[in-house]
Each structure stands twice: as C-alpha cells, then as structure tokens.
C-alpha cells in the first residue's frame, strides 16, 4: 500500500485500528468518533468529516466533526440530492469542486460556499454487497482531493464500511429495544383500563377492549390515551373515596 501512503497517515495502521473496534465494548458514539477522526488523519485535506447512514430512502448523519458538516449533509437530505446522496444512490464516489457543485446542485453549492467548503468528496460505504451509507469529506481547498486522495478515501471507506454497518445494526437493535419498552408501557396502561371496564361493565377482556376502541374511534384519539384517561379517572375516584 506504499503507493497510497503519501500525503497522509499510514493507511495500514489506520486499517488495523478500525479492525480493533469491538462492538458493544465501545459506545456507538466512540466508534463513529474513531471512524471520522481516522478519516481526517487519512485525508488531511478534509476540514470536516461526517458519516451518513441509510440506504437511499432515509439518510441520517450519524456523526460529524462539526456543525457545518451536519448542516451540509442536511441540505442534501432536504433536496434529495447532492454529493453524499448521489454517492449512496449510485454506489460510487462523488468528487466535486465548488464549480461542479454549482452546476449540479446550486443550492448545496451556496451552502458549501457560505461555510468555506470548496471541495467535497463523498465515498459510499459498502458492506456485504449493499450500500449502507457514505463518508463525506469537506475541504476548504478546491484541489484538496485528486485521484490519489480519492483512492485513499475509497480504501479507507472499504474498511470503515464494515465497522459502520455493524454500528448501525447495533444502534437499530437498541432502537428496537426502546420501541419494545414503549409497547410494553402502552400495553400495561391498556391492560389497566380494560380491567377497570371489565369490573364496571361485568364484561370479558375482549368486550372491554371494544368499549375503549369505540371511544378511540369516536374521538379519533389513540387507544393508549383513552386508556390513560380511564385509569387516571379511576385513580382520582379512589382518592376521593
């Protein structure tokens, strides 16, 4: 790899460091922090770096070295186009200077110019044959990324993709757990309300559900909110007894 080692850190050392990431042992933020700081080390011309995660439909910035990078990413998500969005969609790097940006994505180019960015290199992150996101490198120098740097960035992205894909899978498992907890809380409140209705109406759990469901349908409110009201009212009654 000596041919691509000039002008930046030792790429093989960077790769070793990426390979050493242990999922779960390091918090997600720390893993992504490592990826962007190693990217900056590998491509010293980049003043800001961000990692986008998503498959094209929904893109989110998982980590960035500055607020400017977050804003520039979001301008692209909002427009549904830009170097990062195009690299994810087309599965190949987008390496553009301010002139090319102005032609292709005028609104994005303006936002970039406002933030002193004159060259953007977005490289897709591909793992297990699928594009899982992009690595975005923002530079002040319009000549910051030539073919040499692009090759370095691709090699870096090749190794970073696996780490980012794993981190994203880990994050989605965590989000799943949070959703499940929310479902259990809702189920608990609805269970309480059903019990209250069953006693009052001397009915079955299914009939109690129906009573609550009909209130929800009449008032266009969620069953959980209707149930919460029933449970709160019963608690208030108990206090006044």
């Amino acid at each position: 790899m000596s041919g691509v080692d000039e002008g930046g850190g030792d790429l093989s050392a960077v790769v070793r460091e990426l390979a050493g990431v242990v999922l779960g042992a390091d918090p997600l933020e720390a893993v992504l922090d490592l990826v962007v700081s190693l990217a900056r080390e590998t491509l010293p011309g980049a003043k800001d770096v961000s990692v986008t995660v998503g498959d094209g439909d929904v893109l989110t910035t998982q980590h960035a070295t500055s607020e400017d990078a977050v804003v520039l990413d979001h301008v692209q998500y909002g427009n549904g186009d830009g170097p990062c969005v195009a690299s994810v969609r087309e599965g190949r790097p987008q390496n553009v200077d301010i002139e090319a940006m102005t032609t292709r994505w005028p609104e994005f180019a303006e936002a970039a110019r406002d933030r002193g960015v004159a060259r953007v290199l977005s490289v897709p992150l591909q793992a297990r044959g699928a594009t899982v996101g992009a690595l975005n490198l923002y530079a002040a120098n319009p000549d910051a990324f030539g073919p040499e740097e692009e090759t370095r960035a691709r090699l870096f992205a090749h190794h970073a993709a696996v780490v980012v894909a794993n981190a994203a899978a880990y994050a989605s498992a965590e989000a799943r757990t949070a959703q499940l907890l929310e479902a259990l809380e809702s189920r608990d409140v609805i269970g309480q309300a059903k019990g209250i209705v069953m006693v009052r109406e001397r009915c079955s759990p299914e009939e109690a559900f129906d009573v609550l469901r009909q209130v929800s349908q009449r008032t266009h409110r969620k069953l959980r909110d209707v149930a919460q009201e029933v449970a709160d009212a019963a608690a208030a009654e108990r206090r006044h007894r």
Binding site: E182, A183, R187, G191, F209, R213, K222, R224
Partner: protein, 75 residues
C-alpha cells in the same frame, strides 16, 4: 390482498412495526402468526382483526388521514 394488508402497505408500515403496535395494544400473536393472518390470508378472530385495524388506524392518525381501516363489525 386483504384489507388489512392493503392498509399496511398504504401506511408504509413494516410487518415488524405493525406487530410492535399490535403488542402495545394488547395483542398476543407472534410475528409469524400476525404475518399469516395479515398477509397470508389465514383466518383471524374478530379481536385480532380489531387489534390490527386499531394499530393501522393509529398510524393513519399520525399521518393525518383519519381512521380508514374498518373494524370487524363494520366488514
């Protein structure tokens, strides 16, 4: 395609997210069982039908589209 599956697709709700909502409303079927009666045409009892209809209607409330999915007694 049954009305529940049509509504699920219109609401862009994954089967897994529908299952979570169904569990949150008090449902007890597994994800595989839910898949069978929503998308696979297996018979569901009235209560399970109404749980799924409610889950979908609450999604439509979030989307600002009212509660368009019919309950069992409206079919």
């Amino acid at each position: 395609m049954g009305p529940l599956e049509a509504a699920r697709q219109r609401a862009s709700l994954s089967m897994q997210d529908l299952w979570l909502a169904y569990i949150g409303l008090g449902g007890s079927a597994s994800l595989a069982q839910l898949n069978d009666f929503v998308a696979g045409g297996a018979a569901a009892d009235s209560h399970d039908h109404d749980l799924v209809a409610q889950a979908l209607n609450e999604r439509f409330i979030d989307l600002g589209q009212g509660m368009p999915v019919p309950y069992f007694d409206e079919l």
